[in-house]
């Protein structure tokens, strides 16, 4: 089952910490989203494998935009 990881606030992708194919656990940091002057870690809500990364560094994203798809 695919799980979508979304941005919980609008901002800029500062850093992508995973690669496609990586195995991740619950609460692993996947992406650092820069917003409101803060570096906000976007964490995995489920265990799985990174299937797709939908953004690249410096991309601007909106609330609820899908960033990563896990499988």
């Amino acid at each position: 089952m695919a799980v979508e990881v979304v941005a919980h606030m609008p901002g800029t992708i500062a850093e992508i910490l995973v690669n496609v194919g990586d195995k991740v656990q619950v609460d692993d940091e996947l992406i650092i989203l820069e917003a409101m002057k803060m570096e906000n870690p976007i964490c995995s809500a489920a265990a799985g494998t990174v299937k797709e990364i939908k953004v690249k560094e410096k991309d601007k994203v909106d609330t609820n935009q899908v960033l990563v798809i896990l499988e």
Binding site: H8, P10, N19, M36, K37, N40, P41
Partner: protein, 559 residues
């Protein structure tokens, strides 16, 4: 970065664990810097000034304070960070400080703090006579007024140890005529004594012109033979005005005012005798009250080093504030309000209560990014109202960069709910203490009880950064405006200049927000090290609770 060069990825838990020791080492080093910073104020003027005072038979003010306060107690010092590199601050007369070669006044020219004398808490003021003859600079007056305001709020008797040349004349513009200047010192003495807050003065040096009023306006005052002088005009001015030749001792010495003019009440022969007299007078003061039910103090289960380990090095990184709270709270016990409300949005402010050294204390604390969303603002407002209604003092742990921006939040009413938070924090009429532990920007400074919202005490640690916004954002905004202006006028943007400008803004904000910079200007009452935080805050509440807690009246909330 190529795939091979990428760092091995750690889980969040692993990364935080790996950073703990790094954090500890970093904050230990930062607090070392803080101690070195303080030493400059402690030793202002060096041995040379100590020797100069000794020649006049005088001890330093810090020695006198130690003789005055009860053995085994410490001065609860306030505003120690004032005056550092004040000339470079270009505020309150920076240029004149520089041109007079008085651009660096560690400690700000007066020592202020709460001491315990014969078991009674009192506010102590001592002119720093190792620097510029104890004269008052604008920053000295600001510090003086702040300590008097605290004394008035907490109804603490005041002890003035006076040895000052009065207003520093080249800087008179920032010292004399305005509200909050020299006259306010005397206004405050009169008002406080009218409220039954006793004012005691030990004159241990010159008190010329206006400065003499610090002797005359006291509830009771003491002068030291052949050391203390008080006159409206000193011998040279008397000579020039009326041609009279007179020695300082015969013009306004201790015997003149205690035997003839009656301007002073007690004659003593040495500083030691003066201190003993002050202590004797303090013994008549009512004993300390505590206007709250206090239970037995219990140590936290985690000490300050755990607080250091769990505090990220970077001011702009997530902090789990409950790790800080557990190091401050008795038994590390925290009762959280609405812990499950609005996950990810409601928990950027944590609300609750705890005991600190047996005193019940409400808590409003920035958490994670600290960015205040509608949910967090509403929760904070609700909790402040509950604390006010149950007459609970409140600790604000401020680490918020601001309220959440954007269309969704604006439409949802972030402005409205943010303003409710600001109003609640304003009208919350129980003792408040603010401790800045992270970013402190924008309206979050207001809602989290910044200086303008009159917390009884405002402290910061070395991680705090207080500016209207981050340097990054400020650079971006001003750059955008400049670009538009240039283009509107048909010009071409010079990218190199623009990049330099951006960097300049970033550097400027970074330096202006630093605790030493804000402390120099007295935007807070002191930088508090991690290992001092629990004592400093708990003692602050103790002092603030010397007076009964008032009813909070909330005003026109929008809700």
């Amino acid at each position: 970065m190529s795939e091979e060069e990428k760092k091995p990825r750690l889980s969040r838990t692993e990364r935080l664990a790996a950073e703990r020791e790094k954090n500890l080492a970093f904050w230990q080093a930062q607090d070392e810097i803080l101690l070195k910073h303080r030493a400059e104020a402690y030793n202002i003027g060096g041995n040379e000034q100590v020797a100069r005072l000794a020649k006049q038979g005088k001890k330093t003010m810090r020695e006198l304070i130690n003789m005055l306060i009860d053995p085994g107690t410490e001065l609860y010092e306030l505003g120690l960070d004032a005056g550092y590199d004040i000339g470079k601050k270009k505020l309150y007369g920076g240029e004149i400080y520089e041109s007079e070669k008085r651009g660096h006044i560690p400690g700000g020219g007066v020592v202020t703090g709460v001491g315990t004398v014969m078991g009674r808490d009192c506010m102590i003021f001592a002119n720093e006579n190792r620097y510029a003859a104890g004269t008052y600079f604008p920053i000295t007056l600001k510090k003086h007024m702040r300590a008097q305001a605290i004394a008035e709020q907490c109804e603490l008797p005041c002890i003035y140890m006076a040895d000052s040349g009065g207003i520093n004349l080249p800087l008179q513009l920032g010292c004399f005529a305005d509200d909050g200047h020299f006259g306010t010192m005397f206004y405050n003495m009169c008002r406080m004594s009218a409220k039954g807050i006793r004012q005691y003065t030990l004159s241990t040096g010159g008190n010329t012109a206006g400065g003499a009023y610090i002797v005359y306006l006291a509830s009771e005052s003491i002068m030291i033979e052949k050391m203390a002088y008080a006159f409206l005009a000193g011998p040279p001015m008397v000579k020039s005005a009326i041609g009279e030749t007179v020695s300082p001792e015969d013009l306004g010495g201790a015997y003149v005012h205690t035997q003839h003019s009656g301007g002073c009440d007690h004659f003593v022969r040495s500083q030691e005798e003066g201190i003993a007299k002050l202590r004797a007078m303090m013994e008549f003061e009512p004993s300390n009250k505590l206007c709250i039910e206090r239970r037995e103090s219990r140590e936290p289960k985690f000490d300050f080093s755990e607080m250091m380990r769990s505090t990220p090095v970077d001011t702009y990184q997530y902090i789990n504030i409950k790790d800080t709270i557990k190091c401050l709270a008795d038994d590390s016990y925290f009762h959280e309000y609405k812990p499950t409300y609005g996950p990810g949005r409601g928990d950027s402010v944590i609300a609750g209560k705890m005991w600190m050294k047996g005193i019940p204390v409400g808590v409003i604390a920035s958490n994670a990014s600290g960015v205040i969303y509608i949910d967090a603002a509403r929760k904070a407002t609700e909790w402040m109202i509950r604390c006010g209604n149950s007459k609970l003092p409140v600790l604000f742990l401020q680490g918020s960069p601001g309220y959440m921006v954007g269309k969704a939040e604006e439409w949802g009413g972030i402005g409205k709910y943010g303003s409710d938070m600001v109003r609640a924090c304003t009208c919350l009429d129980t003792p408040k203490i603010t401790y800045v532990i992270g970013p402190d920007h924008g309206a979050a400074n207001y809602g989290m009880c910044g200086r303008a919202f009159k917390p009884r005490f405002a402290f910061t640690n070395m991680r705090g950064r207080t500016t209207v916004m981050s340097g990054e954002t400020a650079g971006f905004i001003v750059e955008t405006v400049r670009r538009k202006n240039i283009i509107d006028k048909g010009g071409v943007v010079n990218e190199e200049e623009m990049a330099q400008f951006r960097q300049m803004m970033r550097d400027r904000y970074d330096s202006e927000g630093h605790p030493f910079f804000t402390g120099s200007l007295l935007f807070h009452d002191g930088v508090v090290a991690f290992n001092e935080a629990r004592n400093k805050i708990a003692r602050g509440f103790e002092l603030a609770l010397r007076v009964p807690i008032k009813e909070s009246i909330w005003g026109d909330l929008k809700v």
